[in-house]
Structures are given as C-alpha cells and as structure tokens.
C-alpha cells in the first residue's frame, strides 16, 4: 500500500529518470527534478498529495506526516 503510494508519486514526478534528489521534510517531499514540465499535478493529488508547490525544477509535494516513510520508499525505487 505504502509502496503503491510511493510509486504513484514517483510516476507523477516524471519517473525515476527525472528525479535528481528527494528530501523529506516532516510533511512534504522536497524534490529536485531534471525537467519540471514532467510533473503531473492531478496525478500527485490522486496519489494522496494535499498540495503541490512548484518553482521550475524544484517541486514540493505535501503528503502529510508520512513524508519520511514515503521518501524512503521512493528512494528504494530509484
């Protein structure tokens, strides 16, 4: 279940090839991407994100207090 969420978020960020770095910060994933245009915001929301903030290649995905777990699940997929 948790892994499904991680893989859905990873896919919505453009897949593993698009992720430069993911860092959890309590309630959000701070993601640095190769190509910010590949972000699929509706898919992130569908995967459970409370909100998405994007500035160019830096995207913050607000996932709530599970951020640390989701980030490590995503790192396992990278």
């Amino acid at each position: 279940m948790a892994d499904d969420k991680a893989s859905a978020i990873l896919a919505a960020l453009g897949g593993q090839g698009n992720v430069v770095e993911i860092e959890p910060c309590i309630t959000r994933l701070r993601c640095e991407l190769e190509d910010g245009a590949k972000v699929d915001e509706p898919a992130l929301k569908k995967a459970g994100a409370h909100g998405v903030m994007q500035q160019g290649t830096v995207v913050q995905v607000v996932v709530g207090p599970e951020a640390d777990t989701i980030a490590s699940d995503i790192e396992d997929l990278l």
């Binding site: 309590i26 309630t27 409370h50 909100g51 903030m53 709530g64 207090p65 640390d68």
Partner: protein, 151 residues
C-alpha cells in the same frame, strides 16, 4: 478525548494564516496557531505528552496516546540550515512529557540568516473544528496553553 497543546516557544501568538509557507497558512496538513519567537537562544519544548515520533533539528512531531499528533516547525524553510544552530535534547521514538525541552535554537540567528523564525504549531490531519480554546494573539511563554485539540 481532548488534549491541551502548550506553546513550544516564548513569543507572540499569531494567526497561522500569517505564516509565509502555504503548507501551514492554508492548513494543508492540519489547523494550528503560529508563535513568533522572542529572540535569542532559547528552548523549544514538547507541546504535549507522547512519543517523539518525528525529530529533525528544525522540526518535530509528538504523537499522543489518544492518537493526536502535534507538529512544531522552528522557522520556515529552516531545513536549509541543515541542523546548524539547533541542539537536540531528545531522541526520536522517546517518550516526552509536555513542556520538556526538545531543541535549543536561536530565532534571532535564524532571522539574521534570512529565514522567518515563526513557529507553526499544527494539529496534524484533523479538521479546523477539532481546535478550541485558542490563545488570544499576544505574548505566551513556552509551556503556556496554546489551544485544545479533540481527537
């Protein structure tokens, strides 16, 4: 069940809508109250009794026995300080009492480095209606009641 949430820092109570971070100002992860710390080196204390379920130098979550979780974030975007200037007094997973010291930090120094030192105190994953007894805007000491959260 309801739990009283204490102010983690000494400072001025402010509406969370004034916090310069949409995650908090738009209550994306839950409702809460902000406290603008009064400067200088000081302690941030546990807002409730429970398990220190998440601990970073700049932020922590205490999970209570009745299932509430309260997030304290020390300043905004302060993850970028990578822990510099934050001294931890507890370890992740430890049981803490309300009012016990968790982190020593320096809000004045945080501001000097260009970050807001405002501290959102958030009841995670509950609705706005779960909060009551909100402290009036004005001065609080760390350990003073800030709000009550129903679980």
């Amino acid at each position: 069940m309801s739990v009283q949430v204490l102010s983690p820092v000494t400072g001025l109570v402010a509406p969370i809508s004034e916090v310069p971070d949409p995650v908090f100002s738009q209550s994306m992860v839950g409702p809460g109250v902000a406290v603008k710390p009064s400067g200088g080196e000081s302690q941030a204390v546990a807002p409730v009794e429970g398990i220190l379920s998440t601990l970073h130098p700049h932020a922590f979550v205490v999970s209570t026995d009745d299932g509430s979780a309260v997030l304290v974030h020390l300043g905004i975007d302060t993850i970028e300080l990578e822990g510099a200037g934050f001294a931890l007094h507890a370890t992740k997973g430890e049981r803490v009492t309300a009012g016990s010291p968790i982190v020593t930090w320096n809000p004045t120094e945080v501001e000097r480095q260009g970050y807001s030192s405002v501290c959102p105190v958030v009841a995670l994953e509950v609705g706005q209606e779960a909060l009551s007894d909100m402290a009036d805007d004005g001065r609080v000491n760390h350990g003073d009641p800030l709000f009550t959260v129903d679980s």
